[in-house]
Amino acid sequence: MTTTQHETTVWPWIVMAAAGLLTFVASMSVSPDVVQGQLSRIMYVHVPAAWLAYLAFGVTMVASGMYLWKKDLKWDRRALASAEIGVVFTGLAIALGMVWAKPTWGVWWTWDSRLTLTAIMFFVYLGYLALRRTTDALDVRAKRAAILGVVAAVQIPLVHFSVVWWRGLHQAPSLIRPEPPEMDTAILLTLLLAVAAFTAMYVAMMFKRIELARLDDRVLVAEQTSSGPVAGEAVTAPDIARGS
């Protein structure tokens, strides 16, 4: 197997580290919220993580659709990479939300529509990843996953607008909504900066994960096409000429 230029690229690691550092410094520099105090700093990771979940699953849907149209495995790898990142960040958003909820609402979990639907979306994409493990045939796996990748995207608007459609404890959308955001300028700018940093982190993660998926596929193809040891290879034919 040859080593390509992409396999040694280091810029994604630098971007990931820089984005993480930038988010940390920005969220620690801004003044704490008047009501929530230091606890409000969780929002600078929770909100961008939730945003990345939407973005990642949206990209999975688009890439799945593109695979079904173009039948090019590069779209399948993009869908996989994005779904995996989406699952990680959905899990992070749920976990941080729970950490925030305990001192604020008094419970780790409440049956709020946004929370419940986000947990369900998490399981839908876990199912997507589990489906991908059921077969090693690249085209078969890609086609099945692509169909689920498109169908599963129904959940995304449901999760986002759940706080508008059903009244619950979770606050209404802060950034993605028709009206301008109602929050302090410093908090809003920090939040937007964190969202931008997380988006850059997503791009870098996508790059590395796609690279890994490409290598995985190459190994799989090599395993499936390589001629393994043939049964009876160790047995030598009798030497007929010598009459043995």
Binding site: V124, G127, L131, I147, L148, V151, Q155
Partner: protein, 223 residues
């Protein structure tokens, strides 16, 4: 929709119903299993009559969704790869096969809902509300679940862990149907319009039907 398509679909539906008549899987296994689940809940949470009256409708829908998955995916368990290949070789339209299978599941799910509804009324002393809307909700829930289950069974097909994986895919994706069904009847109980919930269920059913029909051929190629 051509006559050929309808004929092919109805042939598949008849085959699946005939198979059910012979095996009795839904009638003699899944249905009693669902009824037992309805019987077990009060034993676990207490037999306080007002509480049971309050949770009865919700329990009915949860049982329908979870056990209905077993009905919708029964073909995944019973059909072998050879049988699927044989059906594919007959040249039937994959979309017609999908529609035929989903329609058979729909009919079985409808029977399942009606029988389980009667059990819920008897055990939980529930007074059903919205007699005009209830049939629509039952039909839409059965249609959505059968379309979703058939689609998921097609996606997983011959996977090694198909039996476990299909419920994992179907259960979370059936949430819009569960919400629509419970909230439509709750809205009627509270004297509000249930139109938006019925509309949500209708849209989900239509989307699933379109997704199932469009993906039928690519999925058959991967089976």
């Amino acid at each position: 929709m051509s006559t050929g398509f309808l004929h092919q679909s109805s042939t598949i539906t008849r085959r699946d119903l005939l198979r059910e008549r012979r095996s009795g899987e839904v009638l003699w296994v899944t249905l009693p299993f669902g009824a037992i689940a309805l019987l077990l809940v009060p034993l676990a949470i207490g037999t306080d009559a007002p509480t049971l009256q309050r949770i009865g409708p919700g329990m009915f829908w949860v049982i329908v969704m979870l056990f209905g998955v077993l009905i919708a995916i029964r073909q995944t368990n019973s059909e072998t790869t050879a049988q699927r290949d044989l059906v594919a070789l007959t040249g039937l339209d994959p979309a017609a096969i999908y529609v035929g299978k989903a329609f058979a599941s729909f009919l079985l799910l409808l029977v399942f809902e009606v029988v389980l509804g009667a059990v819920t009324i008897a055990l939980y002393d529930v007074s059903p509300s919205g007699w005009l809307v209830l049939p629509f909700v039952l039909v839409l829930a059965a249609a959505g679940l059968s379309l979703l289950g058939t689609l998921a069974a097609g996606i997983v097909a011959t996977g090694q862990s198909a039996t476990a994986l299909v419920p994992l895919l179907v259960a979370p994706l059936s949430v819009p149907l569960l919400l629509g069904a419970t909230q439509a009847l709750e809205a009627i109980r509270l004297g509000r319009s249930s139109l938006s919930w019925v509309l949500l269920m209708t849209i989900v059913v239509l989307l699933l039907a379109v997704a199932g029909v469009l993906s039928a051929r690519p999925l058959q190629e991967t089976a």
